[in-house]
Symmetry: C2
Subunit: 547 residues, 2 copies
């Protein structure tokens, strides 16, 4: 017998580089669960719940390029749908494999569990539509072709796809075969014209620079983009969502560009350039410093996934990878551009016995970063504090800047750590965010992973205190947890845990975390209003943020 429907799909997913599937099992998904567990080249990663699984898959895909998620019908897939939406917004390709009731049950419209009781079986498939770039219910007849279409869509859009498997169909042999689909290709003449236009714009510019954008890592083009920067001699800045799109240890790195909110010298330089080449950045509210960035469209070039825009002219059918390669070959190196130099957060300000302040904490965290670290920074004031830290060689900064779903970071850190056990994974989250998904900490020890986790306990949702009318209003308060006691309850045997109140205790705990050889979980107690500089600026920019 040839491969079954699920075996065929898993086989093709493995060929795209996926070796692990995150999820929660369920009876309608047993066909998928069984096939994963019996495939010696795949690992099943059972998460605590489906939303956490989808965040973990997202974290994994950010490092590995693609991920797979498996949930059961209705209850499972709907629990995960917010995570999938985040992957959609942030261009993270996740294959969502959903187990469905057997075809006969669907046809007979039976009143079975995990349905709304109305005999409809395509509702959840339809609900997924806005948050996936393509979807199909897999059958023996369509499996060969649909698998290729969906993989191609995930590659084309770098976004999630949905594959539904009626449990009986999943175990039937695939009927027929299909050729692999071609990857998107540039139109050679348009590519050439776009590259010429960009070279000409750079050449006639007095000053020029790059903005290194999120699509660079999403398309796996970090090395190519770095080579382009080297070839051009132009400096680059990054915006919030794009942090580490090109490594921050690079000598041409100027620092973060965040509109008028911070780093005025970077803003003045970037906005003063007569040519700014945006390599795949999205101009979101947070990335643009609450819309205070001001990029003149006449002077700005956008190199996006499948098109280029030079001033007001759009060049379609130009692939980013091709364009970067051609530009790198064509360009003449500039050596005449004077630009700002990146600076980090400086030395921590405070004495050992002092309570922990933003002036101590964020520089201290920056100081502990090492090459190749994976830093997962949660939405909110902590992420905003670390966005201006300078990341070492090979280190990456992961944040869900556009979707901004609090709780993402803890499971995403698990997914990222799982994808790269050879790297250090550091999770920095706030108490409010951590409460949403904290149970996923229990997965690290299960797989021998040793993250360093910091939970900033500032007694509430600080970012909300900074954005709402009455910061002390009751809804910004949280249930009071003993965070440092959580790892023990969650089965993290032998982990180093600490609750630190002073700068000295923080230092000591970081030193222990870095040398203990186990996972580490550190609760950092801070004042309710201890805000990172950017979050303070956001507070002052409410008018433009919501305009």
């Amino acid at each position: 017998m040839g491969r079954t429907v699920i075996e065929h799909v898993l086989h093709r997913l493995k060929q795209t580089g996926i070796s692990d599937v995150f999820g929660v099992p369920g009876d309608y998904a047993f066909s998928i669960n069984d096939a994963i567990c019996t495939d010696k080249d795949l690992r099943w990663i059972g998460n605590c719940n489906e939303l956490n699984a989808s965040y973990a898959a997202d974290g994994y895909a950010r490092i590995r390029g693609m991920a797979a998620l498996c949930t059961t019908y209705g209850v499972g897939e709907l629990s995960a749908i917010n995570g999938l939406a985040g992957s959609y917004a942030e261009h993270v390709p996740v294959f969502s494999l959903v187990g469905m009731p057997p075809s006969g049950v669907q046809t007979a419209r039976r009143l079975v569990h995990h349905t709304l009781g109305n005999g409809e079986f395509d509702l959840f498939y339809r609900m997924a539509d806005p948050v996936v770039c393509a979807r199909a219910v897999m059958t023996p007849e369509n499996c060969a072709a649909e698998t290729e279409r969906l993989i191609a869509a995930a590659i084309e859009h770098r976004r999630p796809v949905y594959m539904g498997f009626p449990s009986d169909y999943a175990n039937m042999p695939v009927i027929g075969t299909t050729d692999l689909l071609p990857v998107p290709a540039s139109d050679p003449e348009t590519l050439e014209a776009a590259a010429e236009a960009i070279c000409a714009a750079v050449k006639r510019s007095r000053t020029a620079c790059f903005l290194a954008g999120i699509l660079v890592p999403r398309l796996g083009l970090n090395d190519q983009a770095t080579a382009l920067v080297d070839a051009t001699g132009l400096p680059f800045a990054t915006m919030y969502m794009d942090k580490c799109a090109i490594g921050e240890a690079h000598p041409a790195y100027m620092g973060m560009y965040d509109g008028k909110l911070l780093n005025e010298e970077v803003r003045a330089f970037v906005e003063g350039c007569d040519c700014v080449i945006n390599l795949g950045a999205l101009l979101t509210d947070v990335s643009t410093g609450a819309f205070t960035a001001n990029l003149d469209p006449r002077k700005t070039i956008h190199v996006m996934h499948h098109h280029v825009r030079v001033g007001f002219a759009i060049y379609n059918h130009v692939e980013m990878n091709d364009l970067i390669e051609v530009l790198t070959g064509k360009t003449t190196r500039r050596t005449d551009i004077k630009c700002p130099r990146v600076h980090g957060l400086g030395d921590p300000q405070g004495a050992a016995g002092d309570r922990i302040t933003a002036e101590y904490l964020y520089p201290r965290w920056e100081k502990m970063l090492r090459p190749n670290d994976i830093l997962i920074a949660e939405t909110g004031t902590t992420g905003m504090g670390m966005a201006f830290a300078r990341m070492p060689e090979g280190a990456t900064f992961q944040n869900q800047t556009l979707w901004g779903s609090i709780g993402w970071a803890t499971p995403a850190a698990f997914g990222a750590a799982f994808s790269s056990p050879e790297c250090r994974t550091i999770l920095i989250t706030g108490d409010g965010s951590h409460q949403l998904t904290a149970q996923e900490v229990s997965q690290f020890p299960r797989f021998g992973l040793k993250p360093i986790i910091f939970v900033l306990n500032n007694d509430g949702y600080l970012i909300e205190r900074l954005l709402c009318k009455d910061p002390d209003i009751y809804y910004n308060d949280l249930a009071q947890w003993n965070y440092a006691a959580l790892p023990t309850a969650l089965g993290c045997e032998g982990w180093f845990t600490a609750r630190v109140n002073t700068c000295g205790e923080l230092d000591e705990a970081i030193n222990r975390a870095e040398t203990c050889g186990t996972g580490a979980y550190i609760e950092v107690v801070a004042d309710k209003y201890m805000a990172s500089p950017l979050s303070q600026k956001m507070h002052e920019s409410i008018d433009t943020l919501y305009a």
Copy 2:
């Protein structure tokens, strides 16, 4: 100035009996959050995450009749959508209040956080469609009319409704007024005809009985249905989803009807009746004993929310409450029917030093139940074990039988306890289910609530072990938690916690829990395959369950 849009909606929700709103705050929802916190007749209940909030709202509405949930745009509402789907499936009306970006941001299609980055702002509103019975985006102009339409829909369908609030619109004064809408009314002649048909059927029957169904409590008709049972003199049984629809202390109660799986004497009697009156039960897979129930449609009468079916004849425009009232007045009391008598689980079987078995555990749990207890039983083997316990006077059994989303029970117990702090709330859950939503335990102490929580630690998803091909397959395993250490980590100061391995330890812990005057959390350690009788039967009924 008159009421604002949000003030108007909250005012009307209070009039329907809602005094609390569950949720997680967020910047686009601040208008709603602020209005709730500044209304002295409303309480804001901040949950750990949105799915938990939606489960808590569901638990609250099961007791109170209605509930309200508030989440922010995109990230919040999609996290909660599975909970809303569960409320839809199980006929639980929840008002879902969603904060949206200001109207100007939507019109300008701005690239803001919590969007997919595509300038579309109606996608999540559309995604909610299948899991709500009505929905609207509220504006000053439509607010008066739409509020009435949505409240009427929630009453008509006993299902969730969705109300989206662009944050600026929420704070604008309502324009215009609308009359309240009439509640659904029976057509008098059809009502009379239906009642006559039923009376005639009962009269000519040799034996007859009721099935007390879920719609009875959902429509708040427990007393009326009990009066009908009394007036007719007929016995009644219940199915799984309907447990406690009419109190189990009633002398006419025969016990659970579960097809061929258990309680053969009840099955034989019910299926042997020549008239079975179903008061609002849904014939789901689990309720019908994996479709082994066999109710002859010629002999069965279905009294549903807005219609009645007698044999093959349907009577529309007949409201259940009216029909019950008319029937109660018309009926002649039967005293000639011999039927089975309910029995409970009997005495716990085991000695103090024995490991805990199903034969000890479920009877022991039954034994501790007291009048007016609220028992929240999770989907899976624990719920299946307790479904056959006999509930005392006034006690209720809550279970998500149709939707069956594991994790529901822990937050639902919080919502139920919150709704009725004067009752004891007992949560019985399994380890696998508990892991999904365990952090919500931290909410009980925040509101002074003192539940008794049992977590059955049987090292994995037992119901799945019973339903899948290879029970020991890896995906049925869990991260190993120290459950009994969880309450301390989650801030449940002073709670009684215990981990029990033997029958004697269980007894001791139950005694302590019942007298300690604090919340109690008991981890019950059991063998991996310690299955309740019904779950064992489900294992043997896979063929009919998935047919």
